[in-house]
Symmetry: C2
Subunit: 308 residues, 2 copies
Amino acid sequence: MDIALIGIGKIAVDQHVPAIAASSDWELAATVSRAGTVDGVDAYTDFDVLLAERPEIRVISLCLPPVPRFEYASKALKAGRHVMLEKPPGATLSECHALEAMAKAKGVSLYATWHSREADKVAAAKDWLSDKTLKSFRVTWKEDVRRWHPGQDWIFEAGGLGVFDPGINALSIVTKILPDAIHLTASTLLFPQNRQAPIAAELKFFHPGGADVSAVFDFRQEGEQTWAIEAVCEEGTMLLTHGGAQMFVDGVAQGATETGLHGEYPRLYANMAALVRAGGIDMDLSPMRHVADAFLLGRRETVVPFEF
Amino acid sequence: MDIALIGIGKIAVDQHVPAIAASSDWELAATVSRAGTVDGVDAYTDFDVLLAERPEIRVISLCLPPVPRFEYASKALKAGRHVMLEKPPGATLSECHALEAMAKAKGVSLYATWHSREADKVAAAKDWLSDKTLKSFRVTWKEDVRRWHPGQDWIFEAGGLGVFDPGINALSIVTKILPDAIHLTASTLLFPQNRQAPIAAELKFFHPGGADVSAVFDFRQEGEQTWAIEAVCEEGTMLLTHGGAQMFVDGVAQGATETGLHGEYPRLYANMAALVRAGGIDMDLSPMRHVADAFLLGRRETVVPFEF
């Protein structure tokens, strides 16, 4: 199937283009970007022109930042195209609901992707937890914003999510692997004195079985980086590390150990191919809802100014 | 039908008890409250005891504050009771989704009430707007927090919503009367230096028809209080005032002019009676989603400390 990729920035070049190239489902037929291009692929700068001139391209993948995404997604849906959205699926929950209503009205597919859910050991972690009795569940997502988002001031602007930009990846895994629905009961958000988005957060959740469920997100982590989830159950302890790429049960590694994102985007594109073939919408907003709840309930504390 | 009222505070005494007493649908069979009681009605202090001892009471109305509401609502739903929730339906969006899933699983009715939607002229405003071309839409909700919430420090605590406690009433009307779905594009939240919830907010929305849609909420309004919505359309201007109790088209009052809440709660209880009879769930979270979006996108500004 022909697909067009909109927004040729770092994530597109690093992940989307190679995943599409390696897939037998997809042919990258065009790109739309102000400046970015992909060698050998028709490059547009105006999305309206692409939609008008290339009716044979039925699928649009958007890897723009969240704020302009709604405008592009709604144009694509109104033009009867299937749409795939990078995470988070929008800047607000309400616009995501509006997109879902548009896709339903047009009878096209809409996929809100969560790449971390496709990390190598996430499915195994979900399987393992499915018949266990949870006692405690701790998410630790600590990375160095200077290393992963160098100079990206937008991430600390209002709506930029701050530490929830990576934190929402953790929440996308949590909401996939936990058998029971959780909800936030308290959150503390640390805002640098000169910034509009938090640099660190501590979250506590209600769990229907009474387990102690919590998360810590921190953008100030120098040295070793941690993207880990530990689930202590009556039957043993499961540890998911490297953002879901490695899994340990009672200290024993499960399956081959991998690092990095290499499996995530190919799986997203395979999921999108299956969704378009079957017809339907895959728009799970639960990770984003937890983030919105964290801002809604959050106790704000001011910390020292942050400069890149 | 027998109904039990949980949480006998100011709103219960002022609105819920008289609305139930005036209705031919309902019989107030019991109350649960730490201290409050209603003359001539069985008073419990322990909700578990009520659920166990009074199986004939099939409907529970909760007028507790939002934070403890989930625990009571989930107990009632698990015990197979129909549940009616004061606004907002919970402290987080995620817990509201969890309640909806529980109600579906149990096959009982769940009603997230929005009392301002039942103000006298809201239905007429919705009708009027249904075939108009909107140019601008301005919500002005300005009241004196010292007058309406004297000494209620909880309203300025994290999760207390601050000025969004009344503001969500405005948003419940907006989401009912506007024919098109809107979503937030920017918000500015003013936090008093010594408080965890905003005392004022300015919101801007995207409208699919390109209308200029905005809202201002302010808790610092002394003198005249304003709860108004002005819709400027190509065909004329509609003004809804007094929280939806009065309506004007091009300056001309529509229908009898009323003030106050007297029609709102009787209509909520009539809606609940119809919902229980028909079976089903009425859980529109759109007003609360806009509030969560406003916190998520909000640019925070610090203003002078506030003391009651």
